[in-house]
């Protein structure tokens, strides 16, 4: 076995109020994909930031090729061969691929002007290594997400990186493209490059990683060869307890019809959508990017207008022109982007919860902060929201807890129909299980839930019935109990259009 590329030994790092890393050790071999797993707040990002020179450790050391290094900044880490690709893609969309790959290191001619021909040639060589036949002059804005992700990797490699840090590289990719990225990673492995791969997604880690290290509460819980560990064991280590059932049991019986959608059509977006939702039922909508699932949800709650078709709530035909109307009829809508569309990050938790029901928290037009605090407190307890108090600014909570706050703000209104776009996006496993159980509990109490998720396992596990959407049309319906990921993938890709086409 060859000597490790990177060794982190007994590293500690504290921030005011938290001990983010406790005696964590980590090792990366050449040609290895080493996955780093753990819930949000487990210390993955802190460790990444130490390796990439953003933070200095309080104690412990970092060695590269066996030599101890004291990284002062990311620039120095780059010089030592550490390349980073972070969650938020950091490319400039208005510039070409070549300009992005060589941001301030473009080859120059005499006099300091950029040697464009050489710049494009060098970029083309780098892209060719990954079978990317794109013109280096293409603007990044015109590339799809996968290609951008690869350009990002190429950018890191152009600095002769031998250690590549990838933070959730597939989070923005459609499921069909993941394999393409894995191809690229395999080539890098073959060249002896070591890859640290941060991900929540266990199946992906099982598919691409050689070893994995689990962190929990700032400590290393274990390092395993992927071949010798099961998904259940990984989850157990991440969460710190045994999770017997990832998904709650399905509905045994359905109630009356809550929502009926007939031939709903929005120009250039979706067409002829028909389905029904019953009390006690959870419907999942599967599809790939561009299937227009989120647009459908937005139209259901009156955010976007429709041109034809009808929405019937408990037998009453409604004509929605604004979200307020939909909410007054007992609907709730949880958008996909909780930070930009769902929450008021600067405001305290309790004000985030009361926003949908200000009338219930006021008398004679005056707010009742005491009631607001008390009701919020009951949600904090019921949903196990981890927060120092209801006065906490929501922007400081973790993703899972923010998601629970967003749910709470609707539960205050006791909605009949919950419309949810990605119920657990960016939420760690523990909170995920809790949110799934909660949604099932709401259904059992008589609510209907309709959700979109980009994770097939979540759709299969949580839903009673699955609708498949392809390019703005419903192409199939499958009972979740019999669905498989392969089947959903096939249907979502538009290959099979044989199952019952709902409601037509």
């Amino acid at each position: 076995m060859s000597a490790p590329l990177l060794e982190v030994t007994r590293v500690n790092k504290s921030f005011p109020g938290t001990h983010a890393l406790k005696d964590v050790s980590f090792e990366l071999l050449p040609g290895e994909v080493h996955a780093l797993m753990g819930e949000n707040g487990a210390g993955k990002s802190t460790l990444m930031h130490i390796i990439s020179g953003v933070y200095a450790p309080d104690s412990g050391d970092v060695r590269i090729d066996g030599r101890p290094v004291a990284l002062r900044d990311t620039r120095q880490a780059q010089d030592l061969g550490i390349g980073m690709v972070f969650q938020e893609l950091s490319l400039a969309p208005g510039l070409s691929i070549a300009e992005n790959v060589f941001p301030n290191r473009a080859p120059t001619r005499l006099g300091g002007t950029i040697d464009w021909r050489s710049l494009y040639r060098q970029t083309r060589v780098l892209l060719a290594q990954f079978d990317l036949e794109v013109d280096p002059r293409t603007l990044v804005r015109d590339l799809n997400v996968t290609t951008r992700q690869i350009v990002e990797i190429v950018k890191a490699l152009s600095l002769n990186a031998r250690i590549l840090l990838l933070d959730e590289p597939t989070s923005a990719l459609p499921p069909t493209e993941v394999e393409h990225l894995f191809d690229v990673l395999r080539r890098l492995k073959a060249r002896g490059i070591g890859i640290v791969y941060i991900s929540h997604r266990i199946p992906e880690v099982m598919a691409i990683a050689d070893r994995l290290t689990v962190l929990r509460d700032g400590q290393r819980v274990g390092t395993h060869a992927v071949a010798e560990v099961t998904p259940d064991r990984i989850i157990e280590q991440m969460v710190g307890r045994k999770i017997t059932d990832l998904y709650p049991p399905r509905a045994d019986q359905l109630g009356a019809e809550l929502l009926r959608v007939e031939r709903l059509t929005r120009d250039k977006t979706f067409a002829d959508i028909s389905f029904t939702l019953h009390r006690g039922e959870i419907i999942g909508i599967a599809g790939l990017m561009g299937a227009r699932r989120s647009d459908l949800l937005r139209a259901l709650v009156g955010v976007d207008r429709v041109q034809s078709g009808s929405i019937i709530i408990e037998g009453r035909r409604v004509h929605l022109t604004s979200p307020e109307q939909a909410f007054a009829l007992g609907m709730a809508y949880l958008p996909e982007e909780r930070k930009t569309d769902g929450l008021f990050l600067k405001l305290p938790l309790r004000q985030n919860i009361s926003v949908t029901a200000l009338r219930d928290f006021s008398r004679f037009g005056l707010m009742n902060p005491r009631r607001e605090a008390a009701v919020s407190q009951t949600f904090v307890e019921k949903l196990h929201i981890r927060t120092p108090g209801v006065q906490q600014i929501v922007g400081r909570l973790s993703g899972g807890n923010q998601q629970k706050v967003m749910l709470s703000k609707w539960l205050v209104r006791q909605p009949k129909i919950l419309v949810i776009d990605e119920p657990t996006k960016g939420v760690d496993v523990g909170a995920k299980v809790e949110i799934h159980a909660l949604l099932r509990e709401l259904a059992r109490q008589g609510a209907g839930v309709i959700f979109v998720s980009s994770e097939f396992p979540e759709i299969i596990g949580l839903a009673d019935r699955i609708l498949i959407m392809v390019e703005g049309r419903l192409v199939g319906e499958v009972p979740a109990a019999q669905a498989t990921e392969q089947q959903l993938m096939l249907l979502s890709s538009g290959y099979h259009v044989q199952e019952s086409v709902a409601g037509v």
Partner: protein, 335 residues
């Protein structure tokens, strides 16, 4: 749980069991009003010892009369800022209102009716601002810069650039008379500030300002009528600007088309010094009021110390930058 339900709804109280003095200090710095109040008192104590003419009823009355129009407008402006809006036209609306009310009074329109009509005119200008910003989606800076020029221009055309004077003495009561040493106009201003502060803190309706301003999308998707609220805030601000114009005309016994040049910047500076954020979601009426009092006191001090009036504007700018810089530093440390 460190829960303080009696605290003002939007003061970011810090939870956690630290020493009482650190949490006290945090809460002190966490609000903008208290440090500002302490600063104002320090200046007052300092000046009282330095200049015997400072701490006198006459001086304080002059100061209060001086910043009354600014403070009246600030009540609307801070609500607008909290809701993520912005209005540059207030100074021009003030001038236009002053000239229009003076013209009407000279033309023998009943005074209460004239006042009412001018307030409605102010509201209409605000509605135009609001509609331009929310429905036509023009940037508030551009939209209100436009109405600023239009209002100022109309005032000039109406008066041909000359103040309208010769108003009947009865029109000067609000601006000239007083009760227990407090001029009526100052009294009106104080009532508006107190009512505005309590309303922004406690009413359900104005609570929406914080939601709209902190995250417009989330507010809309939580069932808040975002556009309607913003338009209301523009109408309120412009109506208060019209009221300030009437009050000032009453004090000067004239409608002056060139009155209150640059007043919009004073109002904004005061609100921001008092903790309002130009990106929305933050601010209180009390803070904005104290900000304006602070600016008022500083320029009074400079006048007493015989600093050139031309320097005063520069100092206001320096205070504004210092206040925002202080805020950034404190905030960076807290996160």
């Amino acid at each position: 749980m460190a829960e303080k339900s009696s605290a003002a709804p939007l003061s970011p109280a810090q939870p956690g069991e630290r020493h009482w003095w650190t949490s006290a200090l945090r809460r002190f710095i966490g609000t903008r009003e208290l440090p500002l109040l302490v600063l104002i008192l320090l200046v007052v104590v300092f000046m009282a010892n330095r200049n015997p003419n400072f701490l006198t009823i006459a001086n304080f009355r002059a100061m209060a009369v001086g910043f009354t129009p600014t403070a009246i407008i600030a009540v609307g402006m801070v609500i607008l800022l909290v809701a993520g809006g912005f209005d540059l036209s207030v100074g021009a609306v003030l001038a236009l209102s002053g000239t229009v009310v003076a013209r009407m009074v000279l033309d023998d329109v009943e005074q209460p009716l004239a006042v009412l009509l001018v307030l409605v005119m102010g509201g209409l200008i605000g509605a135009v601002n609001g509609l331009l910003v929310t429905k036509v989606r023009i940037n508030p800076l551009v939209a209100t810069l436009g109405t600023l020029s239009i209002a100022r221009g109309i005032a000039q055309v109406m008066t041909e650039g000359v103040s309208i004077s010769g108003l009947p003495p009865s029109f000067g009561r609000v601006g000239g008379e007083q009760i227990a040493n407090v001029p009526y106009m100052v009294l009106i201003m104080l009532v508006i500030v107190v009512v505005g502060d309590l309303a922004l803190r406690h009413t359900r309706f104005l609570r929406q300002a914080y939601y709209v301003g902190s995250n417009e999308n989330a507010a809309r998707l939580s069932g808040i009528a975002v556009d309607r609220f913003r338009i209301f805030a523009y109408v309120l601000t412009a109506t208060l600007a019209a009221l300030a114009g009437i009050v000032l005309a009453s004090r000067l016994m004239a409608g002056t088309p060139t009155a209150a040049q640059g007043l919009e910047l004073q109002v904004l500076a005061g609100a921001v010094i008092g903790g309002a954020s130009l990106t929305g979601g933050e601010g209180t009426v009390l803070g904005a009021f104290l900000g304006i009092v602070f600016i008022g006191i500083i320029s009074n001090v400079m006048t007493m110390e015989a600093v050139s009036i031309f320097w005063q504007q520069a100092v206001t700018g320096a205070i504004l930058i210092a206040a925002v810089a202080f805020d950034m530093l404190v905030r960076r440390r807290r996160v």
